[in-house]
């Protein structure tokens, strides 16, 4: 019986509380309702006091009026509170303090009225503070909720065991399941079996350190039955008092992954399709050259050999274009291992020496060293620098290839005594499609991709590339590579630096 009564009383108190000090309710009320409520209340209390004087206590004239002030402030805010404070002070004075129904303010009465008014003001200001605090909490809560629910990423909170404690509404957009369904189902069961181990390891790793965060990519069985690629950023917020769990922001990146794959496939097919006809043309040219030589038809043999040399240029260009496509798409891949750098340099130099009769390539290499990286790609850079040196020094006879070991770095420079590069060009030379003009605006052949590709390769292998040059007196192109760039994360992928010595 008492329990039921208490229950009803509590629910009534809650309702009153929600009705009175609710910030939203107060904002939607019309001003005249806000002001008329205290007047009615005041009139009602005065009526009760006048007619049930003894019952309500004559000795404490202000007591019920305090309740009127508190309720009016809760209902309508500070304005109605102030109004009712003044009004009730007047009413009290008129009916209860002074000889009945007159305004006769003596010393004692004025102190009583003043005290009452000051106390009321205190109540009003406290009530205002409560309202403001409520408003603040509500607004930041709403803001947080809106951010959470309108975020394009879904947000999920799990405990340390992986049980889902919270899932934001965007979950439905990302994986098809509503946040309710997601919380009820075994969310982990839909992760692709090949990705579970990796995810488990990531979780275990993150659990070791509060605050740590990591982004992973995994496959997930979506509600529509298809597999999607999900990118999740998982953060350990177990120590955070408001969250106490692991937070995952996840998004569906299937389309992006498929597009990337399509692009990679296209590059693969393009490489194959472009090189296939060139392969047979080149082989035919070489067979013809052999046959002409056997017959003693040297003039014809020379012609098809020139054809073959042109084909080599074409193959180089196809390679360059594909490399640029890969660099732009971020899919330039490296096959890395330890290799003998000097052996590679000697190989490249020997090969290029065959292509020129005008220049002598002189090798001045420091002691042998094993370098970790992509041998073929570094060979490509070296070949590019040497063939540029030959191309841009038509009047000179030698090209120097010098290497030096210093600390953990290997520096290789290719020096020519050619045209050199003007200061204005020096800054642009590693840019895509940039081509240097010779004297009298004579432009050298080429599509201007070689140095761009070289600089990208060197950068991605953790090194740097630069040029030192004096116009008319030759250029020196250098690159610097760490022996084992994986052990030197500090110098990984530095920006291209151009050093001047003029």
């Amino acid at each position: 019986m008492l329990k039921t009564a208490l229950k009803y009383y509590l629910s009534f108190a809650k309702k009153v509380n929600r009705y009175l000090w609710s910030d939203t309710a107060m904002l939607t009320r019309k001003w005249y309702i806000k002001y008329s409520f205290p007047i009615i209340l005041l009139a009602g209390v005065t009526y009760l006091k006048l007619h049930y004087d003894l019952l309500l206590g004559r000795e404490t004239p202000f007591l019920l009026y305090f309740a009127v002030v508190i309720l009016s402030t809760g209902f309508g805010g500070i304005g109605p509170g102030m109004l009712v404070t003044f009004a009730s002070a007047v009413v009290c004075n008129y009916y209860f303090l002074t000889p009945f129904q007159s305004f006769n303010i003596n010393h004692t009465h004025s102190i009583q009225v003043l005290t009452y008014m000051l106390e009321s003001l205190l109540v009003i200001s406290l009530s205002g503070a409560v309202t403001r605090a409520n408003r603040h909490v509500r607004r930041s809560g709403e803001k947080f909720k809106a951010l959470l629910e309108n975020s394009s990423d879904a947000i999920m909170v799990t405990n340390e065991k992986g049980d889902v404690l919270y899932a934001s509404p965007a979950t439905e957009r990302v994986i098809g399941y509503t946040s309710g369904e997601f919380k009820k189902m075994n969310a982990l069961a839909n992760i692709h079996k090949d990705d579970r181990e990796m995810l488990g390891k990531t979780y275990a790793f993150l659990l070791q350190t509060p605050g740590r965060s990591q982004t992973i990519l995994h496959r997930y069985l979506l509600k529509n039955g298809s597999w999607g690629w999900i990118e999740s950023t998982i953060t350990n917020l177990v120590d955070h008092p408001g969250i106490k769990g692991m937070v995952s922001n996840f998004r569906n990146v299937t389309e992006k992954i498929l597009l990337e794959k399509q692009k990679d496939d296209f590059i693969g097919v393009a490489t194959h399709e472009l090189k296939t006809p060139v392969t047979s043309i080149k082989a035919y040219a070489q067979i013809l050259s052999n046959r002409f030589r056997k017959e003693g038809n040297i003039a014809s043999a020379t012609m098809v050999e020139k054809m073959d040399a042109q084909l080599n240029k074409l193959i180089g260009l196809i390679g360059d274009l594909l490399d640029v496509t890969k660099i732009e798409g971020g899919s330039l891949q490296f096959q890395e291992s330890f290799y003998d750098f000097n052996e590679l340099a000697a190989e490249v130099i020997e090969e290029l020496q065959h292509t020129t009769t005008t220049h002598k390539i002189i090798m001045k290499l420091d002691e042998n060293t094993n370098v970790f990286g992509d041998r073929e790609r570094i060979g490509q850079v070296l070949a590019n620098l040497i063939s540029n040196a030959i191309k841009y020094s038509p009047a000179s006879k030698t090209i120097n290839v010098v290497s030096k070991l210093h600390k953990n770095m290997l520096t290789l420079c290719v020096e020519d005594q050619g045209l050199g590069i003007s200061e204005k060009d020096r800054y642009k030379i590693f840019q895509r499609f940039y081509r240097v003009s010779g004297p009298d605006s004579h432009t050298f052949p080429g599509i201007g991709l070689g140095l761009y590709i070289s600089s990208e390769i060197i950068k991605r292998q953790g090194g740097r590339i630069w040029v030192e040059s004096k116009e008319g007196a030759g250029s020196t192109f250098c690159f610097e590579l760490p022996y084992n760039y994986k052990d030197n994360p500090g110098i990984n992928i530095s920006e291209t630096t151009i050093t001047d010595i003029i």
Binding site: T276, T279, S280, I287
Partner: protein, 117 residues
């Protein structure tokens, strides 16, 4: 006379390989269908030039198939392809060597000489 089996799905390449190898004194068998490679092994070629990227079945699978069969596993296989991962694939499938397209005929003939003699 040594016999070389050439498998490639590009007609021009098959043709030029035939001329090239016959000029150098080999007996040449060719196929453009990957599925025939294993069957052609009954002709006991002394070596195989095998394209990686072929229609029907890819060269890597053919290579693994031949290398795991004790009857054919002794036949040297040289993978040839235009792709940069040729070396990796050759190692994975147990091929004896590889050459990248486009090739210099002297390099190709050197491989034929090395494995078919």
């Amino acid at each position: 006379m040594k016999t070389i089996l050439v498998a490639d799905d590009d007609e021009a390449i098959v043709e030029v390989m035939r001329i090239l190898l016959e000029d150098d004194g080999y007996n040449v068998i060719t196929t453009m269908d990957g599925k025939d490679v294993k069957a052609l092994c009954v002709k006991k070629p002394d070596m195989i030039f095998l394209d990686i990227w072929m229609s029907g079945i890819d060269g890597k699978a053919i290579c693994i198939d031949i290398k795991k069969d004790p009857v054919t596993s002794q036949i040297p296989i040289v993978m040839f392809s235009a792709n940069r991962d040729t070396e990796e694939i050759s190692l994975e499938c147990g091929a004896d060597d590889f050459i990248l397209k486009p090739f210099e005929i002297k390099d190709l003939l050197a491989l034929a000489h090395k494995y078919a003699r």
